[in-house]
Structure formats: structure tokens, C-alpha cells
Symmetry: C2
Subunit: 149 residues, 2 copies
DNA sequence: ACTATATAGTTCGATATCGAACCAAGGAGG
DNA sequence: CCTCCTTGGTTCGATATCGAACTATATAGT
């Protein structure tokens, strides 16, 4: 059937699989993460620890690919927990700078350990080298999607 | 730094990329889909059209990897729009069977066209064959995650 | 300088999703 | 049969997210 051919394209299949995997891994992460901390919150802490803090909310939203209103919300959660502080941006009074607190760094390290442990449980069932090859392809796909949004 | 090594594993990187891609493609789909129809709703219609209707809500929830409460909600949306009907299951009075209506089939075909068109815009920027190779690996990853949830 | 436009964040309403509690029906053992 | 456990669905409260409207500041064009 000609009609279905248009949707059974590799791109579509990949996106379908990816959607399901994202849902599954998100659920898995949420289960092992400490009470009240969502994957998205952890992702922000992790990003700040890796790339460096002092980024603006908008920069972080761009990196995480979420709407800026969402970022306002998430940063509020993290700030209320004392994991980050928002300070005024020195060069632009509209903007903020997001800084990790010591508690935030400690929290992230603890969460990383928990996640690593949880993933270690079944990472043996997967060919790690295989996964390594996937990363650049996925990154490329992400770039294309990002450019067309 | 030893500490970061535990999280900079291929598996983790892949899941991070996948999370972002899922968010991007979901947003993209939502933008092109008709008013009020969410990707998840389309996914259900598509699943029923491909696998065959008459499935129970729980079966569909399993295939989509969403909570059953979510499925109740989504099917309600689709039913209110007349795209599916829920009929009592002949063998089990607790259960239902989800049937596509003609309108549902038509709607799906239209949506497929719209999506195919939207994706066609940038699918040329990606190596389709490359993507094809990704599918089995992703499927495998999905299985492992699924088994460990 | 002055106005117009763009940008950073916030706020708000709507919706998808989850998880847990719940209800109803099936099935298993005695 | 009757109880106990399981299973399919629904309901409910909480939360993440989006998109759009809004505020304040910055930048550009004239």
C-alpha cells in the first residue's frame, strides 16, 4: 500500500523507537532518583556541573530543549531546595546567572552514583561499544531536528 | 576525574541524546498535527491501524509504554472526537475493546500525510540508510530497558 | 534622543503524564 | 460456594510541560 510507505520510513521508525525509549528511561530514572527530584531537574544540575555554572536560564533552556517558561519553573524548584541560586546578571539587568551551590554539587554527585548503580545493573546486557557508535549519529539527528524547529 | 567517568558512559550519553531528540521531535509533531491532537493520540491511532484494532486499553498502554491511567485519558479524548469506540470485551466483562471508526482511519491517513510532508522537508539532510541501521540497535536497547523496568 | 523592535524572564491556563487508591470482575484453593 | 489474590479500568491529586500574553530591559534605526 503506497499510503503507508510514506510513514514507514527509517526516520519515522527511529523517532518512534526514540520516543518509547525516552519514556522508559525517564520513568526508570525517576524511580531511582531521590524523592521529588525529576529527571529534568537532575539534567540541569548535571549540565551546570559539566559545562560550568553562571549560565543564563535561557541558555540552559536551549541546551535542554525546553520552553523558557518550563525553565523558570524548574529553576524555581531547584532554588527552593537550595541546590542553585539565581543571581542578577552583571551585564544585563533583564537576565540572571544560575549558580550551583555546594549542596547542589553534592546532590548531583550523589544522584550520579545512584544512577550509575541503577544502570550498571543492566548495562552488561548491552554492547557498550555499539552504543558508543550510536552517539554521533544521534547527535547529528538532533542537530537536524534542532535546525528545523 | 574519576567521579565523572561513571556517568560519561556511552549508555548515559545515548539516553541523554535520546531524551532531547524525543522532546524535539515531539514538539515538532505537535506543531504540525491538527489542532488539539497530541502526538500520543496519533501514536495510538497509528498503532491500531498498523497492528489491528480490537486491542484492549491495557495492551495499547503496554505497546506505547504509558501508564494505564494515561491510556484511559487518551482514549477518552479520541472517543470524544469520534475517532475510536470502546466496546465491551466479549470474553471479559472488566475489559474493553478499542475499535477504530471510519473517521479515525481517515484522520490517521490525513495526519500521516501531514507528518510525511513535514518530515520530507529535512529528511534529505539525513542519510536514510544510516538511520535504517539505527533501528535494530534502538529496538534492542528498548527491550533491555523494558525488561528492567 | 526617540521610537520601534527584539530579547530575558515571569505568569497563566490548558493538557499529558504519573502513581496510588479504588472498584469491579476473574480465577484459584479450600 | 466462599474467601483470597490478581487483573482491567477508572479516578484523583500532583507535577512537568507547553504556548501565549505580559513586563522590563536592551538594541537599532532614524
Amino acid at each position: 500500500m503506497k499510503r503507508n510507505a510514506s510513514i514507514d520510513t527509517p526516520l519515522f521508525q527511529v523517532l518512534t523507537e526514540i520516543g518509547i525509549i525516552a519514556q522508559l528511561s525517564g520513568a526508570l530514572f525517576n524511580k531511582v532518583l531521590p524523592e521529588g527530584l525529576h529527571v529534568s531537574h537532575f539534567a540541569i544540575l548535571n549540565h551546570l556541573a559539566r559545562i560550568g555554572d553562571g549560565q543564563t536560564p535561557l541558555q540552559i533552556a536551549g541546551a535542554m530543549q525546553v520552553a523558557k517558561g518550563t525553565m523558570t519553573h524548574s529553576l524555581g524548584v531547584l532554588e527552593r531546595r537550595g541546590l542553585v541560586v539565581l543571581e542578577p546578571h552583571p551585564d544585563d539587568r533583564r537576565s540572571k546567572r544560575v549558580m550551583l551551590t555546594d549542596a547542589g554539587r553534592a546532590f548531583r554527585i550523589a544522584a550520579v552514583d545512584i544512577l550509575a548503580q541503577a544502570m550498571g545493573g543492566f548495562s552488561s546486557e548491552i554492547d557498550e561499544a555499539d552504543l558508543g557508535l550510536l552517539v554521533p549519529k544521534l547527535a547529528e539527528l538532533r542537530k537536524v531536528l534542532d535546525a528545523n524547529r
